[in-house]
Point group: C2
Chain length 257, copies 2
DNA sequence: TTTTAAATTCTCATTTTTTGGGAAAATTGA
DNA sequence: TCAATTTTCCCAAAAAATGAGAATTTAAAA
């Protein structure tokens, strides 16, 4: 192993399952001699990507927090969508968590989440957590807008059974799922697509399933679809959105009923 | 340049001043041939540390968001301090922003911030933004608890004039500053030190300066000092704090008046 | 579509790093 | 203080990065 891979292989060890590692354990896990790992770790330390913990343990370093902030300031989806996300949560008028998510390799990752003050639950989707492609409204609504070729490559065998469902979602322009990810919760999602930025993402709302009657559902879907359209516009203009009101006149709300 | 440095040099170009770069500009800025930069960028792309933007531009990638989340889950200061931070902001009973900050190389970085719902201002300190060492209560309270040797090395010539001020802060056990960072705002900070974790940090509160009368100041300082002590305890036990109440009986609040 | 320019990858001999095994040094704990 | 652990250092062989330009791909314009 060489170059960046060597460093990433070490960093990827530090996950939810195990947040701190000794050099010995890293060497064993990677099948690489200790002296090599020591050198690699030393480089990562000076870069701030790792830092020393107690007892010869190491953990992820503060450089990630610094770069994460720059990401927040830089990412066009975040810039275009943060304000709309906040408004969407406010206008939902019920306990909910709003999410802004996007493709990340072969998974979907939430890049911004916002809970209403009265939301006493937390969905599995949260900022920075990669999630499976084929489950939940948040992900499916993204899949449904992906070029067929790319989709086939990503899903492989799992593609066939989803095909007709995704076609429907694409035609509808939104997706609602109940308990697909978290039992007792429901997700509502609308796609955000920006050709020129090569970006396929989604705006979604997670609510308690038993609060989601037919009327509420159609109200929220309408709002989401129009909010997503606002983000798309803002992305096109490459500037933060005006977004005074969330349901402006004459939006093209394709199939949102 | 070789190894990690080569990659970090590229990543460090992406800052607040310029969030997107072409390969040509990177090559020029680094004084390295294009073909080399292309290779480096390609590696960073596959790692998710960079991603392509429109028009042959590149920007920081989503891997940072992913690792940032792991940091949130892993970092002992964050784990021990997040709950207390939230409570401190709630108990302040006035518009404020609470901060949890720590040393990061030769700077101080906020690693968690929390604004009260009625706070309509934002301090310069924010999660992930490195700040100067020698300005503001948040930083000074950290400096004051640093070993003299380390301090001298970090500050160099700037050390002498600060010396007596830092000695006072150390004796007091807290620090209050007005308008040192942001005009019209005031910062109150208490140190968090954990020898065994080799950690020097601070818990601070930013409020509007004109709301900070003598009585409010001493109330907030008392609360902060005691909250910081709770975090220290939690760090020692290496577990999330119990923290039912914020001003428990019999805390050793050295010099907090 | 064809043309043109720009962006990106590729090639390859040379130079520079990395590698890994073990010794040495530094640090830590008892 | 001593012993165990952690970390750095050393060095020759092996592997990888470098850079200049050519070749290819992609995107935009005519």
């Amino acid at each position: 192993m060489a170059g960046l891979q060597r460093y990433m292989a070490v960093l990827r060890l530090f996950g939810e399952a195990q947040g701190t590692w000794t050099v010995l354990d890293m060497a064993e896990a990677l099948g690489v001699p200790q002296s090599t790992v020591y050198r690699t770790v030393r480089d990562l330390l000076t870069a701030g990507l790792l830092e020393t913990s107690a007892d010869a343990l190491y953990r992820l370093g503060p450089a990630f927090i610094e770069f994460d902030r720059l990401t927040r300031l830089t990412d066009p989806l975040m810039r275009a969508g943060a304000g709309v996300l906040e408004q969407a949560v406010a206008q939902a008028q019920l306990p909910c968590v709003g999410l802004l998510s996007r493709l990340y390799g072969d998974e979907v990752m939430c890049i911004a989440d916002r809970a209403s003050t009265d939301a006493h639950f937390r969905p599995s989707y949260e900022r920075g957590r990669p999630m499976p492609l084929a489950q939940g409204a948040t992900s499916k609504v993204i899949l449904a807008r992906l070029p067929a070729r790319r989709l086939a490559k990503m899903l492989g065998a799992a593609h066939a059974p989803l095909k007709s469902e995704l076609a429907l979602i694409r035609r509808q322009g939104f997706c609602v799922g109940r308990g697909e990810i978290d039992r007792g919760l429901a997700g509502l999602a609308a796609p955000i697509v920006c050709e020129e930025a090569g970006l396929v993402a989604s705006l979604s709302l997670v609510v308690e399933a038993d609060r989601l009657d037919a009327f509420t559902q159609s109200r929220l879907v309408l709002m989401l679809v129009s909010a997503a359209a606002m983000i798309e516009n803002a992305l096109g203009e490459n500037a933060p959105p005006a977004c005074g009101l969330l349901l402006p006149e004459g939006e093209a709300v394709s199939g949102a009923d």
